[in-house]
């Protein structure tokens, strides 16, 4: 079973990972975005790490709702409302139970991913974070490690795609050949989840 502490450690691990990888995310965002993905996401997850340490929310759902709200307030770019919606909807779907099973978490994360697709209007294959998140949720029933591998594979698989959402979509065919920064950061989030679970 997964308790509030597990989810706090997941958020902290994500903040550390995003901090380590911020420069790479921004480099990926230079050719096809506005070169701020790493900076924005680091600012957001640093704020998340602070707030979950400070407020010590006591249920898994409360941790994720709080984290999502902080991201919307602090990121400043499109990844804020997108990741914020992902975490908040997942948290709301978990309700207010003190512990959740991996199966319950998988179902809730799927609700969160669906909400992100509705918010941004993106589908798999559009070269967005969805290309890492959908395969991750699909593999999560198997194990956290499988979800991590699926997310990383999904992020790598965005390279040959043409972007159909966000600023990169204005570039048309010139977006081909670059790995999507949003899918890459989504893979970091899922990798931090597996790391937190010890897988």
């Amino acid at each position: 079973m997964l308790d509030a502490d597990f989810f706090r450690r997941w958020m902290t691990a994500t903040a550390e990972s995003v901090g380590r990888e911020a420069e790479r995310l921004t480099e990926l965002d230079s050719p096809i975005g506005d070169a701020d993905h790493g900076i924005n996401l680091r600012r957001g997850f640093d704020a998340v790490a602070d707030v979950v340490a400070e407020k010590v929310p006591d249920t898994p759902g409360a941790v994720l709702v709080l984290a999502g709200s902080r991201l919307i307030s602090t990121v400043g770019g499109a990844s804020g409302p997108l990741y914020g919606t992902l975490l908040r909807r997942t948290g709301k779907a978990l309700g207010d139970t003190a512990e959740v099973s991996p199966e319950q978490f998988t179902d809730a994360l799927r609700v969160g991913v669906d909400a992100v697709m509705a918010l941004g209007g993106a589908a798999p294959g559009d070269k967005t974070m969805i290309d890492a998140l959908v395969p991750a949720v699909d593999a999560l029933g198997e194990s956290f490690a499988a979800a991590r591998a699926a997310a990383e594979q999904g992020a790598l698989a965005t390279t040959p795609l043409q972007a159909r959402k966000g600023r990169a979509s204005y570039l048309g065919e010139r977006s081909i050949g670059h790995q999507d920064p949003g899918a890459t950061s989504a893979a970091l989030l899922i990798a931090a989840l597996a790391e937190t679970a010890g897988e």
Binding site: I72, S73, G77, G80, L82
Partner: protein, 145 residues
């Protein structure tokens, strides 16, 4: 952040507020100035600009949007117009929260500059939120060539 007192429209009617959300503080403020200037002799519509991040950079701030919406809320609804990407997504995410923005706040699907002018001019007549939204959306149909 600016607003104004209710001084026109039907007697006692409250005016719809307008919030302009851009990645750039200068763009949001300038479009607000332009729309206000085109009201003419009518009243003063509560218009607020929410441009850029709180630290003055380019981007979108949920806090600035929330504060702007509250500052223009006169109880008749608030029309929010946005430019790109994160401006659209942040307003949608705030609306999905349910309690972050005043009751009767709506994201209006409209071109930013032309829609803002149409929204503010329509609001100055004392029109309701649906009419303000329709006027702003109609700006999409105005072809220039």
């Amino acid at each position: 952040m600016s607003d104004g007192t209710v001084s026109s429209g039907e007697q006692g009617a409250q005016l719809v507020g307008v919030v302009l959300v851009s990645h750039s503080a200068a763009v949001a403020a300038s479009v607000a100035d332009l729309a206000r200037a085109l009201i003419g002799g009518g009243g003063t519509v509560p218009v607020a600009a929410a441009g850029g991040t709180e630290s003055g950079g380019l981007g979108t701030s949920a806090e600035l949007i929330t504060a702007a919406a509250r500052s223009v809320d006169r109880g008749a609804g608030v029309a929010v117009l946005t430019d790109l990407g994160s401006a659209v997504l942040t307003v949608k995410a705030l609306l999905a929260e349910g309690d972050e923005l005043p009751d009767g706040t709506r994201l209006v699907d409209a071109p930013f500059v032309e829609g803002a002018v149409a929204a503010v001019v329509t609001a100055s007549t004392g029109a309701d939120l649906a009419a303000v939204e329709a006027a702003a959306a109609e700006a999409y149909t105005y072809r220039k060539v």
